[in-house]
Structures are given as structure tokens and as C-alpha cells.
């Protein structure tokens, strides 16, 4: 597969899987407002994934479409971060996962909104408006929970310690990204790391949350090597399409 297509799949798979994860909160949120907020963010993310899958389908110009790309691939063909497939656990854990991703995504989409692929650029310009609100939401909740009660602080600190190992992957180049760097068809994500560090440090400082000092990271999601969680997500996500092929709502 062309590196440019793999890159777009990577960009699409992250919001799809995170959107699916957030959707699990539907009807289970700690309070109604946050239940609605998380599922609204889920909607945005799935909408963003759709725009990207539509773009990929138009490039491939074969017998494929956005639904087939989202619903009929196998685990190793998904190129999302390990971070986004991690389980929700509790609200604090979900918020920290979201915050790590949103802070990265904000920086990434600021760059993508200057991309030379006009369609990708349009998608980025459009969705950046939504990503800003996602970041605002998750960063405010990190502060509120981190600086809240002893219990809420504990939840956030535990989530930060637990999820930290998945953050390094966001700043490591996959094979397809390396291939696209020379003509700037992919963002050099390694350059986003110091900006991201700065962003999250300032929020964690306000939240009274400590960053883990160690730099031991897990990699592989962007290359299709996933944690066991992705299989379970896909089982649920793809159930209807696999059971009733080509079904439509």
C-alpha cells in the first residue's frame, strides 16, 4: 500500500477508534452533562474519521468506500495509536486519555491545515475548529479533577501514570511517515514533542498532577501492532457489517 494512503488511514483510524471508545460512555456517564459531552465529542471524531475515509476511498478509486474501510479491515490493518484503544476505566481515566490525544491532535491539525493535499487541508481547517473545543473540554476537566477532591486527584494521577507509556508513540515516525517526510507530505511529528510537553506541563501544573519522569514507551499501533484491546473494540464495531454484510441503516 502507498505510504500516502497508509498515512491517511493512520489519521482516520485514530479518531474512529477513540470515537468508538467514547461512545461506550453513552448512557453510562457520571452525570448527564458529561455523558452528553463525551458522546458529542465521539460524534465529532467519527465525523472526522468519515471525511478522511471518504478521501481515501476517492484516492483508491477501487471497489471500496468509507464503510468498508472503517468496518471490514482486520486488526493489523488499523494504524491508530495504542493510546486511543485503551479502555475507558473511569471518567478521570477517559479524560486523561482524551487530554493526551487532544493536546497532540491540536498541534497536528494546526500543521495539517497547511498541507499541500487540498482535501486533507480542507478537512484539517474544518475539524480544527472542533478539536479546539475537545482540547478545551479535556484540559479543563484535568484541572478540575486533579485540583478537586482527594479521590478525583487520585484517579487522574493514576491515569497519568498508567497512560504515559502510550504517549511516546505519537511522536515516533512510522515507516510510511518517514517515506513521506522528504516532500513534506507527512508532518514530522517528532518536532511536536517539545510543544506538546509544554502544553501538558502547564495544565498538569494547574491540576497539581505530577508527570512520570521515566521515558519508557510502548510502540507499534501506528504500524498495525496493537494491544489486545483493539480486537474487542473491532468485534463490537464491526459486528453488524460482518453478520449482515452490506447492511445499511
Amino acid at each position: 500500500m502507498e505510504p500516502s494512503v497508509q498515512y491517511l488511514l493512520h489519521l482516520a483510524d485514530c479518531p474512529l477508534i477513540l470515537g468508538q471508545r467514547l461512545g461506550e460512555w453513552c448512557g453510562h456517564g457520571p452525570v448527564l452533562e458529561q455523558d452528553i459531552a463525551m458522546t458529542n465529542i465521539s460524534l465529532d471524531l467519527i465525523g472526522q474519521a468519515r471525511l478522511l475515509y471518504q478521501h481515501i476511498a476517492s484516492l483508491l478509486d477501487q471497489n471500496t468506500d468509507e464503510d468498508k474501510l472503517a468496518m471490514l479491515r482486520y486488526e493489523h490493518e488499523y494504524l491508530n495509536f495504542l493510546l486511543v484503544e485503551q479502555p475507558n476505566h473511569n471518567f478521570g481515566h477517559t479524560i486523561v486519555r482524551q487530554f493526551f490525544y487532544d493536546a497532540f491532535n491540536l498541534l497536528q491539525y494546526e500543521r495539517l491545515s497547511q498541507h499541500k493535499d487540498e482535501t486533507l487541508k480542507s478537512i484539517a481547517v474544518k475539524t480544527l475548529k472542533e478539536i479546539k473545543y475537545h482540547y478545551r473540554y479535556s484540559s479543563e476537566w484535568v484541572i478540575r479533577l486533579g485540583d478537586g477532591t482527594e479521590t478525583s486527584h487520585e484517579f487522574v494521577q493514576t491515569a497519568v501514570n498508567d497512560l504515559w507509556k502510550y504517549t511516546g508513540e505519537m511522536f515516533q515516525l512510522a515507516t510510511y511517515e518517514k517515506a513521506l517526510l522528504s516532500d513534506q507530505s507527512a508532518i514530522d511529528v517528532t518536532t511536536l514533542k517539545p510543544l506538546w510537553d509544554e502544553k501538558i506541563s502547564s495544565i498538569f501544573h494547574q491540576a497539581g498532577v505530577n508527570l512520570p519522569g521515566e521515558e519508557v514507551f510502548l510502540f507499534g499501533g501506528k504500524e498495525g501492532r496493537h494491544s489486545e484491546h483493539l480486537g474487542y473494540i473491532l468485534t463490537e464495531l464491526q459486528y453488524m457489517q460482518r453478520t449482515y454484510p452490506s447492511m445499511k441503516w
Binding site: L43, L45, G47, Q48, K126, T127, Y133
Partner: protein, 170 residues
């Protein structure tokens, strides 16, 4: 005047364009029933193409379920009014903005109980409601950044204590 499958043949294009625009006034976002897609600033272009008319509509929020419903509604209403072969296409560029909502649209939102978007600034990226749609007070507080749909936030009026939706700046 005869009603044919396509009325564009009967009139010059500037007249037909107006006809189509007025037909589109009847198409509403199902989640904001009071306001037409014209008032929401979603109609980007109405143009003749070969033997049919082509209508470009702007995508609002990328995940908004109305995005799949609105072109279906628009096509059905256009067909009813003699434009059965009109093509309706959703476009992501230029990126839709709440600033495109007409004054009439904002008035209708307010009448519907939704405070229209207002004043984007460095500190308030989604702006703050100008007034409570119920009692008109300017004394309001944010409850939640997301409301009944992604485009709205939930506010509370600190005078009449009613909660209301606010259309965030986008």
C-alpha cells in the same frame, strides 16, 4: 407556466436561482426546526450544470447527523417543487462558520430558545450568550461545554434560573 420535471428551461438562470433559493427556505435542520438551511448560511452555491441544477451545501459540524438528513430533505422538497433532477452536494470547504448565520436566523434561534453565538475572543473562544432566551437577562453561567448537540453549550440563567442552549462560535 407549466410545471415540468425541470423548470430551469422556462426561465433565465437568475430567476431560477431565486426560485431554488426560496424552495430551500423550506428545508430545516431537523434538530433546529425553526431555522432554514438558508438562514443557517449553509447554501454555498446554486448553479446550472448541463441539464440540471447543482446545489452546494456547507457541512456544519463534521459529525452532525443532520449532514446525512439535510441533503435528503432538500432533494425531496426540490423534487416536489419541480426540480426532481437537482443534485445536492455537501461541501467541507469553505469551512462553515456560525458567522454565516443570518440576522433573521439568529432571531429565530433566540425565539426557539437557543441563544445565538456571540463575541468570540481570545478568552472566550466559543463566545458568551448575549442574553437568556427566556427572560433576556445578561447574567448567565456555563453549565457544560456540550449541549444537546455538538454545536451547542449548556447555560443557566442566573436570574430566571432556566437552563438554555447556546450556539457556540464555530
Amino acid at each position: 407556466m407549466t410545471q415540468t420535471a425541470n423548470r430551469s428551461g422556462d426561465f433565465p438562470s437568475h430567476i431560477v436561482r431565486k426560485q431554488i433559493a426560496s424552495i430551500l427556505e423550506k428545508v430545516h435542520d431537523p434538530e433546529i426546526p425553526g431555522v432554514s438551511i438558508v438562514d443557517l448560511g449553509m447554501v454555498l452555491d446554486i448553479r446550472p450544470e448541463n441539464s440540471h441544477w447543482h446545489i452546494d451545501l456547507a457541512v456544519t459540524y463534521s459529525g452532525c447527523p443532520a449532514i446525512d438528513v439535510i441533503p435528503i430533505l432538500a432533494k425531496a422538497i426540490l423534487a416536489q417543487d419541480g426540480f426532481a433532477d437537482a443534485v445536492v452536494e455537501m461541501q467541507i470547504a469553505p469551512p462553515w462558520s456560525t458567522e454565516w448565520i443570518s440576522e433573521r436566523g439568529n432571531d429565530k434561534l433566540l425565539a426557539w430558545g437557543i441563544a445565538p453565538s456571540n463575541k468570540k475572543s481570545a478568552h472566550h473562544d466559543f463566545g458568551i450568550p448575549k442574553q437568556c432566551p427566556q427572560c433576556g437577562s445578561t447574567d448567565t453561567s456555563l453549565i457544560s461545554a456540550y449541549g444537546s448537540t455538538p454545536c451547542k453549550a449548556m447555560y443557566r440563567c442566573d436570574v430566571c434560573h432556566e437552563t438554555f442552549d447556546y450556539f457556540k462560535c464555530y
